[in-house]
Amino acid sequence: MAEKILEVKNLKKYFKTGAGTVHAVDGVSFTIDKGETLGIVGESGCGKSTAGRCILRLIEPTSGEVIFNGRNILKLNRRELKKARNDMQIIFQDPYSSLNPRKTVQEIIAEPIKFSKIMPGASKADIEKRTRELMDTVGLAERLYNAYPHELDGGRRQRIGIARALAMEPKFIVCDEPVSALDVSIQAQILNLLKKLQRDKDLTYIFITHDLSVVNHFSENIMVMYLGQAVEKAPAEELFANPLHPYTKALLSAILVPKVGANKARVQLRGEITSPVDPPDECRFAKRCNYYCSDCDKGTPPLIEVSPNHFVACHRVAPQKTAD
């Protein structure tokens, strides 16, 4: 039976700026089972990267709960958090800025091992052995042991980032657009690597991306975010076969398929994305929605399950039942 490894409840992150409060992440909830991948998609400004970082407490959330393996991460003190970090890691988008340019490949990979004391009492030789193992796991050639990041291309750098994330033997990894900055032929290599690692090590992933075809291939469940909120959440097949939220429909219709004649009429969105600063209590997508109707002024639509595991936040598609 599937075991819940992560449960996020009503996660919020607000930033105070001169112009007002930016609601970067505004009440996001979801659960993930062990060994699965949750894909989080959305365009720029939707809050997906911020949400990913809040879950790891790389950014301190404003409110909410993040329950990992039964414990609320947000309530841990410094010492407990440091220990918890062994289990939760992150892979970054930019292979160029995510590696310390002054450290060699082996130093970058070994650093988490040494720092977290995950191998207490280990000798230099033990750590070297472990580092080489990790390099082999991610497909980095042995001779790169003492190379510097600037000598290597994006694909290899990303492998270093993956090896670093694996060094602490985590159970859960947030992948923040891990292949967006890579060439197409390398993307496929890295995606296959991530899949293989997931199978071999029973890892759980959150896969953040703006690329819908990639997320379809890579995730069991997908959550679509818009302006800090989750607007639809469903198993990947269901989402693509039967998208319910108007934004999801627009997003899917915008995918450019690399096939002759496959790119037909697009759902046209009206207007531009509204501001995340002090948003009023209403459906944030309403102003751009082609299905706008009188029901849509009823305040922020809650995420409601309309069919098994398929959640939508839309007044029209998922009207709020009075008895809830």
Binding site: L212, P258, N263, I273
Partner: protein
């Protein structure tokens, strides 16, 4: 409804012949000469574009696409870039033989270019209207008022209300900035527009909007478009012709149908295999093994050989010849010297071999 119309039969405005060649690149070679080594960016590229056609130049980082585009405007940064040989004719005149003054006349007027990053393409201290008008005034003999009026017309054409002509770039979003860039590029109605990854920096929904707009404009104005991109989905949407580049050479060239429905080059096959299939999410990705070659150490023969599942011992050293697959389709691959050879397509198998 399937797309039956062959894409290159575009209805042209009546005053010009349909088959006027507006861009003709022959055997272009561009190298960057550094102190210890030479980067061979473009190694013998030829392509032709007729009025109103769109060609997609597809390739990954380091393929040489941007260098080729810059060469068309003779804008390759001159130390260290050197155009070693070849000719580039824009509307009949060889760009590489022109003086700077002549070049300045045709840039923006006969041939324009738009770049990838809309954030840095616009001057932050000038209004968008002024930036469009600037191009018009430079190339045409009009008054300031007339130029500004044209600027407003261009804004409307790209879908921006003309009242916004007096606003500054920072007041526009990324997608709108890119539209302004397009408006500037098309203001003097150039015959050829070079677009270097114009939508890569934009969100998916905005990308679709901008591409739709570019297609419409292109039809309306009869502009020939060179669309440089790594995204095969973009190519499928807007292009009639496709040129696949690898290590500075065009390895496959043909119509959209030729290259997408029956690809011939192993690299092209590899590119399609690397993409997640929207219709079959469980299908495995088949990456191209290995990495891009070092552009300072390219072999005499095929640069794709180390990564190619069809490679034989001769591939690396044999000088390559373009093979004619049909009168619209060519491929640069030594294996096609053997009669009856064909790649076997990893997926789908829609091969008329």
């Amino acid at each position: 409804m399937s797309d039956v119309i062959t894409r290159h039969e575009i209805v042209a405005p009546p005053e010009t012949a349909n088959d006027e060649i507006v861009l003709d690149i022959k055997d272009l070679v561009v190298h960057y000469v550094l102190e210890n080594e030479t980067v061979e960016a473009v190694n013998g590229v030829s392509l032709q574009l007729k009025k109103g056609q769109t060609i997609g130049v597809v390739g990954e980082t380091g393929a040489g696409k941007t260098s080729m585009a810059l060469a068309v405007l003779n804008l390759v940064p001159s130390p260290p870039g050197v155009i070693k040989s070849g000719s580039i004719s824009v509307c009949g005149s060889d760009v590489l033989k022109m003086s700077t003054k002549q070049l300045e006349k045709i840039r923006g007027k006969d041939v324009s270019m738009i770049f990838q990053d809309p954030m840095t393409s616009l001057n932050p201290v000038m209004t968008v209207g002024a930036q469009i008008a600037e191009s018009v005034k430079y190339h045409e003999n009009v008054t300031n008022d007339e130029a500004f009026k044209r600027a407003e017309e261009m804004l409307e054409l790209v879908g921006i209300p003309k009242a916004r002509a007096i606003e500054y770039p920072h007041q526009f979003s990324g997608g709108m900035k890119q539209r302004v860039v397009i408006a500037i590029a098309l203001a003097c109605n150039p015959k050829v527009l070079l677009a270097d990854e114009p939508t890569s920096a934009l969100d998916v929904t905005i990308q679709a909007q901008v591409l739709d707009m570019m297609s419409e404009l292109k039809e309306k104005l009869g502009t020939a478009l060179v669309m440089i991109t790594h995204d095969l989905g973009v190519v499928a949407k807007v292009c009639d012709l496709v040129a696949v580049m690898y290590a500075g050479r065009i390895v496959e060239y043909g119509t959209l149908e030729d290259v997408f429905n029956s690809p011939k080059h192993p690299y092209t096959e590899g590119l399609f295999g690397s993409l997640p299939n929207i219709e079959d999410r469980k299908a495995e990705l088949i990456p191209i093994p290995g990495l891009m070659p070092d552009p300072t150490k390219l072999p005499v023969g095929c640069a794709f050989e180390p990564r190619c599942r069809y490679a034989t011992s001769v591939c690396r050293d044999k000088r390559l010849n373009n093979h004619i697959v049909s009168d619209t389709h060519t491929v640069l691959c030594a294996r096609y010297d053997e009669p009856g050879f064909n790649i076997d397509l990893l997926r789908g198998g829609e091969n008329n071999g």
